[in-house]
Amino acid sequence: MKAALLALVAGCVDVANTGTAWEDLSAITGELAPEHGPDPAPLAAPTTLRVATFNVHFADDVDNLAAQIRASTYLARADVLFVQEIRRYHSEPVSRVERLATALGMTWVYAPAHTVDNGGVHGVAILSRYPLVAAQVRQLPYFDQPNPEQRIALRADVVLDGAPLHVVDVHLDTRLAPSDRIRQLDPALQDVGDRMVIGGDLNTLPWTWVDGAVPLTGTEAVVGQDQATIVDDFFAGNGFARAIASDVVTTRAPIFSMRLDDLYARELAVTTGDVEHVDGSDHWPVWFDLRR
């Protein structure tokens, strides 16, 4: 009884573990074994690099997803593409990441975060027109809350005329309070390098969540301090420039306007960036151009 009362007062969300250090992909075996595609055909390094991020909502229809990306003026030219929520099933002869990357003429690294029903895995990927090396994955802090998921960050170095660019793809929890979102995000920036790009689905739902279940929508309405603004401030404090403002909508959710996805760069000039409205997911992709 006493323990139950204490739990009620303290809340039901807690950091169940603080995650892991960066691990080489080769160290992970079994169902969650990552993939690393072959190097792409050699290309001259561009002066302006375009990076995009897209939560593809499982990529059930890879052919349509690839067609949507190729048909987009902005996405078709992406040199590096971060992908979240992409699955691999034993029942499918080729992984969805490999099919998507092949259709776009890119190489890839894929890291599953956890298993799903029907013999599948669910994870994040980095696709690139340039070789990817030094790929590593780390488990991010795990929060024990209703419907928890293990979240990961995937990093790699994009090889551009001998000067590697560090890139990190992340997919964070949905119903985290702001301080917990920063706790989960911060390790993805650590031990990577100064000149880096990070982005993905940060799941910055605007509100503070009570026990990972009840959003304080009224409080956010009064203060105007949504989680996208807080995450932007965190990145700015770490020397990053962002792709899009906190009020740009990146999800098709009805009623509420939310920026869940974004990209950030450090020691690289962001020349332009925007959200692109294409079909194929419940999110819209975000892209930005970086002057090298």
């Binding site: 917990d180 929508t217 409080t219 301090q225």
Partner: protein, 156 residues
Amino acid sequence: MRLALVVCVLVSQHQVAAADDGVSRHLFYGELLGKAGEYGVGYELALSPRLALGAAGSFAVVRDQQLATFAPYLHLTLLAHHTHALFAELGAVVTHSKVPSPVSSWDGMTATGGGGFASIGYQHATRHLVMRATGSAIVGEGGIGPAVGFTIGIRP
């Protein structure tokens, strides 16, 4: 001027009525997920059987985030029958938020905002006990947000 005079007369008449029915004009309450955020405490003074002035406040810590809220308001009983009543509230809200940094590479963030709210709700009350369920639209610097609150209070 004429309107103010009419309101004063009505309020003073109702004050007499309120005193006559023996129900205290003072209401002390606690609320959950209402105008004062995650939870709050409040006080309400009945000016008449249908009109009251109140204020609710709270200081809550939600996963490190510190939220201090103050919400003064006007409470109007729209319909009443025995222990049941339908009411509306109109008020202002001020909230201060502080998100302390959980990491060394960031300083955290603070913000203060103000706004207003309009609510409609159901009340079940006895002489000493008041229970309310409220639906609100809260408008402020972050736009508009819905809130559903629950209140339990006592009239001493």
